[in-house]
Symmetry: C2
Subunit: 248 residues, 2 copies
């Protein structure tokens, strides 16, 4: 099992191309084995819904590639994104019957799924997996609460900067970022999706991105390819001033 910076949070899972952050590294090979037996892959196309809020959810699993979002919708159509799922993120609630949110693939997506029942049984038999899931859920709770501050108190410009810093930070964890300090990545979200995450309209998102670009905080090539010349500057714009360490 090759070590890396998240080694203690992850588990190589058979021939799975990603390391599941869901499950802890102390798992021995028997547990690995039983994980392998209940797992399968599913692919989704960009825009495809994975589950609807209220649906029975028969699996849990990790995102292998692509991006998915968790959203809530009011009767009149107002929507709020409540989570962004990037590769290695865990999806689903052991112990819950129904999905609480709409889960949608925003890009082409591959998931590594575990059938829920057997996964739950394994969790019962393997106390430190429940403990690891508790830890992960606490992380998600922190991320959600951090996001409450963004939604409740930050300006549109700060909101955009916060979102960019999260994506940049997260992206940098996956692909190593160029060493001169600049960060480069592709925005995985449309302006509309960003607006739904930030509690804004897509027009405001567009205007603020233009403004950040004008001010040299970010550079844009095409609509999606972003360069951050100075990450600390971005954090300042986000009102975080050092950490900004949210993220699901």
């Amino acid at each position: 099992m090759p070590g890396n910076l998240t080694a203690d949070l992850t588990l190589d899972c058979g021939d799975c191309p990603i390391r599941h952050r869901a499950v802890c590294a102390r798992c021995d090979s028997d547990e690995l084995q039983s994980l392998d037996e209940i797992k399968y892959y599913r692919s989704f196309e960009a825009g495809q819904s994975i589950v609807w809020s209220g649906d029975r959810m028969e699996f849990v699993g990790s995102v292998v590639s692509g991006i998915a979002t968790l959203t809530q919708t009011m009767e009149d159509g107002r929507t709020q994104m409540v989570g962004l799922l990037l590769p290695s993120d865990f999806v689903g609630r052991p112990g819950r019957e129904a999905a609480a949110y709409d889960v949608v693939a925003t890009t082409d997506l591959v998931m590594c799924c575990f059938r829920k029942k057997p996964f739950e049984e394994m969790m019962m038999r393997t106390p430190h997996i429940a403990q690891r899931l508790l830890e992960m859920t606490l992380d998600e709770l922190d991320a959600a609460r951090e996001w409450m501050l963004v939604l409740g108190r930050k300006t549109a410009r700060e909101k955009i900067a916060s979102l960019l810093s999260i994506i940049a930070r997260r992206d940098a964890t996956l692909k190593l970022s160029p060493s001169n300090g600049t960060m480069v990545f592709d925005l995985p979200l449309t302006r509309e999706a960003m607006a739904d995450y930030l509690g804004l309209t897509l027009e405001t998102v567009s205007r603020q991105i233009s403004s950040l670009k004008r001010d040299g905080v970010i550079e844009l090539a095409g609509k999606r390819h972003v360069t951050i010349p100075d990450f600390d500057r971005l954090l300042e714009e986000a009102g975080d001033d050092n950490d900004g360490g949210m993220l699901a």
Copy 2:
């Protein structure tokens, strides 16, 4: 152990005046015993800080009486409340060293505390306690995400109605509500605290409360004593239209 509607989520704990929702009812008396050995009570005055964000937190526990809040603050003083802790709510993170938020008693408060280390050890020995904590944390995560919708997409009036419905619902679970359908309770928060929870200013909170009162959605006796003549009406105003089932 007297049964009540939350029996399967709670545990009578020695001479403790509340039932801890933290720990599951399947605990046998040995576990009860070990809980008793590591527990102690602490009182806090209204306005007193319980822990500051970043401080070492040496206990976990339940609120016995009174109200506490979790808040985050930006350098420039903007604050966002991210959690409201009512009697029987659990406080603290097994497995976490430092507090992530400021925890403040907004009324006089009594907590039943367990020293963190021994509690964590008991959690290790008792798998279904970790599972129960996971379940609770998932509930909190749902509540936080529900609140993201409130913060990101609801109008000021809807925000106030949402908060009132949460408090009313929660209060009704504790003291049984009068059977004619009206609900009566005392607001446990100042206008400013409500504003911090809702991402508003205290002036806007005051105006919207006056407006809801003018429209007969709520009745006020003094500044704090609230009567809800028609709870469904309140839920409509909150934009929830049936459920509104958030809450920490």
